[in-house]
Symmetry: C2
Subunit: 270 residues, 2 copies
């Protein structure tokens, strides 16, 4: 999916919601465990209940990988089931020397047909570039993450600027707003305004609202650009909103609440 | 495997060689393609031909993941085949928020029984700590990597020290020389001496000799400590030393040449 198509979807749905599909066998509604593939069945019902409210789905690969072969089958079935109108994100946080990153890129972009993948920046240009060489595919590079450990290295000051700012400035010489986004955690709204002066045009993938406590209104106020420029993710807050047989209806209600807030914010800021 | 056991193996074999099992279907000897599982057959013959010359095997997960379900089966069979005397490294470069890293740790340590996993430091403490909570299991944290892109961020100066030094100093407060190693590329021998003043006791996993051009003698001179403290990896230089039906004999010859050099270096320095 290219940028124009993504922006069109955001406008049509008045939503920049990304739903994290991170299914945990221990948290699935019990009645699903009878299904041949409970993880896929869970995802399918979540997708059925929410696809008109969101523009992206983001499976975190750890949750599938931990289930072995069954998990990879569930991931592929999920990906095949997500409508083509939706932007798909492999939340994999990969990154390795060139010939290995090329291998990861081929896996997620060609074999599994994801639109994008999250990538860690530590190893620099040749660990990222192989992912940027695919038409209509995207790198979503870790910039400023939502977790507590983001304090350990990302805020280290080098030449008067925090490390995460170096990541933005350097990586924008590798890719463009047409194939490169950045992860910026919703738990850092005070930094978002400054970040927008460095990367005004790039899309930001914003995790951390919901279970991690980030603030959607603050992130939207400081982070939105003329094309919206945001994909805001919620995983646990939506997919585990209910626990019983009606879990999908609860997930829809939770997604609808976020989408309505987003519609108002879009009206207000662009 | 704990540290005492690993050091004992190194002394017994006069080797600190780690062999990277990164099988590429396009580079396998043609006659193996007839096998039911060519990747496993390739690894099996490499292991048979080299196990007395090395102390560790390091499958890079990208090469298995890219083959889908067949790849994961080959990985598990390979892992089951590696003798228990050998230290196993999942070269996966993972790292995510706490609940997700916990999931990755369970996958590689409990389900697949790897002794260790490579982890990226960018997301900080809560992305690394879940891997450190397993008995006799190891984190191998990216410190100073062997690739060209290591110049982009790892050498940024913060408070008068390069970023990679901050990673060493901070991470040694999270783990000990009993459960934490660091990746230090053989392409940076001039930094290794300095690194040893910061982390005298930790093991270093050293990629980059062979195809990437690093220098074994220089790295050993500056990097060895009283317990050896090094695992030096070669992947392509060994596993693709030959192309025909006798590929395993060529791999053995290549591994033997490295091991003999290592035996001499161990004699010289410890």
């Amino acid at each position: 999916m290219n940028r124009t198509e993504l922006v069109k979807e955001i406008r049509a749905k008045a939503s920049y919601l990304c739903i994290g599909l991170d299914p945990d066998l221990n948290r699935l509604p019990h009645h699903l465990l009878e299904h041949e593939n409970p993880i896929f069945e869970f995802n399918k019902q979540i997708i059925d209940a929410t696809h008109d409210l969101c523009v992206a789905y983001k499976p975190n690969i750890a949750f599938y990988e931990s289930l072995g072969v069954q998990g990879w089958i569930a991931l592929q079935k999920t990906l095949d089931y997500i409508p083509e109108t939706h932007f798909t994100i492999a939340d994999a946080k990969r990154g390795d020397i060139g010939n290995t990153s090329k291998r990861y890129a081929s896996t997620f972009f060609e074999q599994m047909s994801f639109d994008s993948i999250t990538v860690a920046p530590y190893m620099g240009i040749d660990s990222v570039q192989p992912f940027l060489e695919f038409d209509k595919k995207w790198v979503i590079l870790l910039g400023l993450t939502s977790n507590k450990g983001s304090q350990d290295f990302q805020f280290l000051q080098a030449d008067g600027k925090p490390l995460y700012e170096h990541v933005f400035r350097t990586a924008t010489t590798w890719g463009s707003p047409e194939n490169l986004m950045f992860v910026v955690g919703a738990t850092h709204p005070e930094q978002v305004q400054k970040i927008r002066t460095i990367i005004p045009d790039h899309f930001l993938l914003v995790p951390g609202i919901g279970a991690q406590g980030g603030d959607l209104a603050a992130v939207s106020r400081y982070g939105m650009n003329k094309d919206c420029g945001l994909l805001v993710n919620s995983s646990r807050g939506i997919i585990y909103a209910g626990e019983g047989e009606d879990f999908a209806a609860h997930a829809r209600a939770a997604a609808l609440a976020v989408q309505q807030q987003m519609a108002a914010l879009l009206d207000k800021y662009i």
